[in-house]
Each structure stands twice: as structure tokens, then as C-alpha cells.
């Protein structure tokens, strides 16, 4: 509460919530927010703020991949029509670079910094979430396809429903490394299989 009050004291107007229910913080209406700040300390603060907003936005909308060419998402997030300001692609790249440094994002190695995965939840967290779901629903010791985890009927109400393939792969890598599960090659990514062993055994 006190933090909201102190932010409000800075005198920026609050944008109305989006149709999706997401509410941008009022700093989103601050014109310099859309200019890459040349002063190092100011820039660090600015990049932190952007990283936080991007992660909040992606979490709210269950988005995983940031694509500089995906105009639909970028229009909402990086373009503020109210104050007529737009974050330039270079600035977005610089912000993602900062996020990558902190482990909050990862560039798609083949995209030449056009696409990045935003880890609004770390693979370790996803791993814990998925494995606990598997054990709770008694699916351990049986083989599940990636498709069943990400898009199956059983996981419909789960947070990882529609999880991005890359994120899912990262999560599985974590589980395999821990020795909790084993993966099986499939014809394509969605047919890849995974078997969870008995927990903690």
C-alpha cells in the first residue's frame, strides 16, 4: 500500500486496465520510459522496471515468447498511444539483454535476437509444478507425451497449460537431470514421451 502511495506521489496518471484485466503501472505513462537512457544508473533502473513489467504482462497473459515481429503483443506492451510513445526495437533488445543477464529471459539462438523466451517462471519452478501435478494425478510410472502435459485434458486447469515448447523442454531437462524422469524420443516434439519415476525414490 505504501509503495502504491509513494508511486502515486510521483504524479503520473494511471492508465485504465486492459480488456484482459491487466493493469499497467503508471510508470508506463512516463515519456522517458520509452527512451534508452544514456546514464548507466538511470538505465539500470529503467531496464529493471521494464523487465518487471514485461514479466508481469507475460505472466498475466500466459505468454512465453517475445517476438519483435509480433506486432499484436508489442502494440500493447511497448506502444503507449496515450502519450504517443513507442519503445524502439533496439531498446527492446537492450532490455531483453538485461533480462538475459539476470536469467529472466533467453534469446532464441537461431533468431538473431528477434525472439526470446521470457521466464516469468523459472524452469526449476515449472519442474516442481509439473512433477507435483503428475504425482497428484497418479500419472507417474506411465509415459506421458509432451502434448498431454501441455495441451492434454488433464492439465487444462493447470498453470502450465499451453506451456511453450522450449520452456517445456527446459523443464524436462531439469527433471531428467534430477533423475526424476526420463524422456523418450518421438517422431516430433509433441510426440516426445516422458516417464516420471516414483517420487523421491
Amino acid at each position: 500500500m505504501s509503495q502504491a502511495a509513494s508511486n502515486a506521489a510521483l504524479g503520473l496518471s494511471q492508465s485504465p486496465a486492459l480488456a484482459s484485466g491487466f493493469q499497467f503501472p503508471s510508470i508506463h505513462n512516463f515519456p522517458p520510459f520509452y527512451t534508452l537512457q544514456p546514464t548507466a544508473s538511470t538505465w539500470n533502473n529503467q531496464a529493471d522496471l521494464w523487465g518487471t513489467i514485461i514479466m508481469r504482462y507475460y505472466r498475466h497473459h500466459r505468454l512465453y515468447q517475445l517476438d519483435l515481429d509480433d506486432s499484436l503483443t508489442n502494440e500493447q506492451l511497448f506502444n503507449n498511444q496515450r502519450i504517443n510513445r513507442k519503445l524502439k526495437p533496439e531498446a527492446i533488445q537492450a532490455i531483453v539483454d538485461e533480462m538475459v543477464k539476470k536469467g529472466d529471459a533467453e534469446w532464441d539462438a537461431t533468431s538473431q535476437k528477434r525472439r526470446a523466451i521470457i521466464y516469468w517462471r523459472k524452469p526449476e519452478d515449472w519442474a516442481a509444478m509439473i512433477s507435483s501435478w503428475v504425482f497428484e494425478s497418479g500419472l507417474n510410472n506411465s509415459i506421458l507425451t509432451y502434448y498431454e502435459i501441455a495441451h492434454g485434458e488433464n492439465s487444462e486447469d493447470q498453470e502450465f497449460y499451453n506451456i511453450h515448447a522450449t520452456v517445456l523442454q527446459k523443464t524436462m531437462d531439469v527433471l531428467v537431470k534430477r533423475g526424476v524422469a526420463a524422456t523418450f524420443q518421438g517422431a516430433n516434439f509433441e510426440e516426445m514421451g516422458v516417464k516420471f519415476f516414483n517420487a523421491g525414490a
Binding site: 509503495q3 509513494s6 508511486n7 510521483l10 504524479g11 503520473l12 496518471s13 503501472p25 510508470i27 505513462n29 512516463f30 515519456p31 522517458p32 520510459f33 520509452y34 527512451t35 537512457q37 544514456p38 546514464t39 544508473s41 538511470t42 533502473n45 529503467q46 529493471d48 522496471l49 518487471t52 504517443n84 510513445r85
Partner: protein, 617 residues
Amino acid sequence: MDRWDPIQLTSTFRPVLEPQEAIQTTQDQVGLYDGQAEDYPNGTVYLTSYRILYIDAKDPTRKSIGLPLRLIHGVQHYSGFMSSSPKITLDLYQRLAIADPQSSSDLISSQGTTSGLNANLGALSLKSEPSWVCAICYNSNQGAFIKCAVCGVRKPQESLESTTTTPTPDPFQLSESTQMGATDSRDSARRSDFGSVTNPTTANGLGTDTQDTPGIACPACTFHNDPFMIQCEICGAELQDAESVAFLLDRQQQHQRSISQLPSTIDSPSPPSSTLSTGTNQVSDSNALKTTGGNKFMPSLSSFYTRTASGNGSSKQSPEDANSVKLSFRAGGNGNFHTLLRAALAARVWDSKPKKRVAESSTALPSTTALETAQAAPSIKVGGISGIMRTVETNKKATDETLSQAFQDLQGLMDKAAEMVALAETISNRLAKSNTMDSEETVTFKTYLLSMGITSPVTKDTAGAVFHKELARELVEFILPIVEREGGTMSLMDIYCVFNRARGVELISPKDLHTACQMFQDLNLPLRLRKFDSGLLVIQTMARYSDDEVSSTISKRIQNLPPGAGLTAVELASAIQISVALAQDQLLMAESRGLICRDESVEGLRFFDNLFAKWEI
């Protein structure tokens, strides 16, 4: 050394010059001695049109002295040999002849005796007199004015104490002398010559004190006017006024003097064709006067004699060697100095000064102009208030004339530069007195006037080797108040413009300005040259405006703006009256300190308070 007087210095240890005085050359590392103690071993010597000034390098406040050029009667040049520096020896006039201020001013020009030109003496004697209020029209006049600037009535006698020794001619005797024919005046001149030779006090006695004068009877209506009036107070008729007559006579005599080179007869031997057999120095003088054969004005003539006599008497008392002083040029420059000194001595500007004064009277002595015009056009004679009004009108006309003449061509402007500055000062003084100061126009006009005003700019010709040092000093004197008004910082470009504008004609190059500014620190002047990261050069006052202070001021200014409003360099520049380039640099400085942040958009670069640092996620 006893003839050298202490001189006034400016805050940057440059000499304060008289009006009309101009620096001819400057030379540093000059020693000054008269064969005895070396009290003045090393300093900067300035040669002006009137004086030689010595400013000590080590102790400028106490050891700065000046010698009027008129006291020099000879110059010897020694070009130096082996380790001996080049020297210039100045031979001075006898001591007692100039010990008395009254007779020293007589030495320059014998007009000292005529009241009309006493103002010149006031200006020469380097004293600033208090201003006085006219008893007739209550106009407040400058102390140097002998007459009221508006109505022409003379200054009250009690404030003229310094000049009361000057004999004031008897109006009646004067009118008598003017009525005399040419041959008569010659005789009378000789007669009065003898009178003055035999008894100098009689010569002084010729003039009766004006306090005792009963007043001038108007030739038209017989009204007894105040002796100071030039026109009848009742009917406006021209009075046979002592001053105006004396003034005219004096100008004629001065003209003759310029032809006959009268002062040179002091040193020259007597002319061979001597008709009078008294055989004294006075004979040669009276001969010189006789041969010129013009109108003589007795009191001035007699005082001239008195002075010569006293000069002769003193020669026995003062030792010969004290009458010369040596300038030792350790860093060269003696040749140039010698040439210019000779030129200055030959020019005898102090002799022509009264003439200049008359020409300039439209600005400095309006009453003289009024007097002249009144004499030139005697057909219109109005007394009382309308007379005063007309005088004011005449002054206005004269001022207009000066202005139009000044702008006729560049040469004219250069000639009139000093007058223009004097005029600007007069107008700004008048504006300061009047109560219309609140109008914006007046304020603007006043700033224009004030921005004119370097009367004797430092040039490469006059300053020579020390040009940049002198320039730096002049610059600081001129620019310091302006920089303070502008908030402590001004870009070099702005300074270049303002400074050159004030100099008027002797413009300097950007390089010279830059070089001069780089010397601020060495000369221990209160300004500093500073280079911003962007390459912008500025002049700053010392200490008062640190970077931190400027940054926090800007940050506060931005915080006080309505939320969401930023500040551009242009807005900042106009808000605190600095140049845009400087404003931009100050904003960038504040930004680099993390106090503000930028917003680049199609509308340009705006700066905002740094909310990123304050925002809590």
C-alpha cells in the same frame, strides 16, 4: 620622482583613464628610477595621450604612479649595450613650476584665468567634485560644470573655492578692452605687460572679485541683472557679459597660440629682434606676443608672466639631476615606446583639449553650446522660462547633430566614439533620475546604452607584447557584472558578441578572446574558462556556481513543473536567460548525475525528473 602621483586602478589593476585619454602603448618588465633608489624595479608601463603610468608587478596597489606628459620637455633614448638594458630618459620641467596646481594648469594653457573654461581645469585636476544645484532653476548639475546645464547661470561662488584664486575680469574693463582698436590693444598689452613684470600682484588685482560686482545693467531696460546672467532677466536683451566676452577673446588667443607655438618660447632663447631693452626673459615673451599682434587678454597674459617668473626663480632651488627619470626596458619594446612617446609629446593633446571640449560640448557642456548658439543667432532673444525652454531645445538639436554626424561613416563613428559613450552615459543618467523606469522600453533602452561603453579598448597596437594579458583584464572588468547577471555562466560565443559590441570598432578575433580567457587563472582574475564535455566553452564565475549546485537547481526546477511536463533546453534557456547551448550542457550534466532523465521523441529532447530511481516495484 616627486612629480609622479599615485594613480587610480581598476579591480584588475589596470589604470583608470580620464575621459579623452587613450592608451598608446603598453610595455611590461620596465624599471623606473631617477638615479637613486630603485623603488619601482619592475612593472608595466602604459603610455597614454596624457600620462605615463607605471603599475608595479608585485605591489600594484601601493606602487602605481603616473606622470603627466606635459611635465616632460625632453626625451633621450639609449638603446642598450651588453648587459645594460635599453633606457629612455625623460627630462622634466623645473620642480616648483609645477608644484603649485594653479600654475601647473597655467603651464598647459593660459586659459586658466577665464572663467568660461574653468570646467576644463576641473577635469584636468583629476578630482571629482560633488554635484551642485542651480539656484535659479534647481537643476542638479555635475560637479565639473561651472554653469548650470539648463539655464546657464553660474555655479554658486562658495563651491568654487578651488578656483577663487583665479582673477575674474572686471566686466567694465573688459568691455573697454573690446572696444579698443587693434593698435590700441597692442599698446595696452605692452602697458599691462610692464605692469605685470614690475608687480605681479597688480596683475592679479586687475580682476575684481565677482562678489563685489554690483550687477550688470541691461542696455535695453536698465534692469540690474545678476552678474552671472548672460541675458537680461526682464527683456531678454544680450548683456555685455564678462564671461562671454572673455570666452571669445580667449578662443582667439588660443588660436594664436597654436600658430605661434608660444609655450616653446619658454625654452627657446630670446628672438634676436628685440625692440625693448629690458633684457629679461619677459622681453622675449612680450615680443612673441607683439609679433603675433592679435587681441590680448590681459589677465591671462599677466598670469602667464607670473608663472614664467616663478618658474625662473625655482630653477635655482631644485637640483638638476632630480629633473630626469629613467625607464629601463628589460624586455625590449623601447623603440616602439620611444617613437610613440615622441608622437604623444608632439601631439600635445593637453593643449588641444579645450578645443575638443568645445566641440564636444553638446554632450558634456551643453551650456557652452547654448552660449555659442546664442551668440551666433542673437536675433532671437527670449528671457525667463521660454529662454530656458529654448536652451533645452537647442541642446536637443545639438545632440541630434552629433548623432547624425557620428553615423555618417565609420571613420566618423570612430572619431565620435568617445562622445557617443558620453552621450549614452548622460542619457542613462537622465533615465535613472526620471520616474519612468518601470516601462519595459526604458529598461531595454538602458541596457542598450550600458552595453556600449569601452572607451579605450585594448588593442594589439597599444598593448603589444602584453596584449592578451591586458585583454583578459579588460574583459574581466567589462564582463564580470554581466556574467553575474546571467547567472554565473556564459558561453564564450555570447561573450564574444557582447564584448565586441561594446568595443565597437577595435574588434578582436575569437582566437584572441580564447587566449585571453585562458590567462584568467595565471592573472588571478575572478573568472574561469571551462570546457563542457560536448566541447562548449563557457566563462564561469569562480566557486559560486559549482556543477553540483547547477545540477540540483535544474533538478528542482524540473520537479516543480506540473506532473508529466518535461523541460527542453530551449525552455530552460529562456527561463533562466542563458544560451541554448549552455542550457543543453547543463541539462546533460544533471542527467549524467542521474538527477533527471530524457525523453527523445519527434518533438525533440525533453528532460524529466528521474522517476526510475524513485519508483518502487
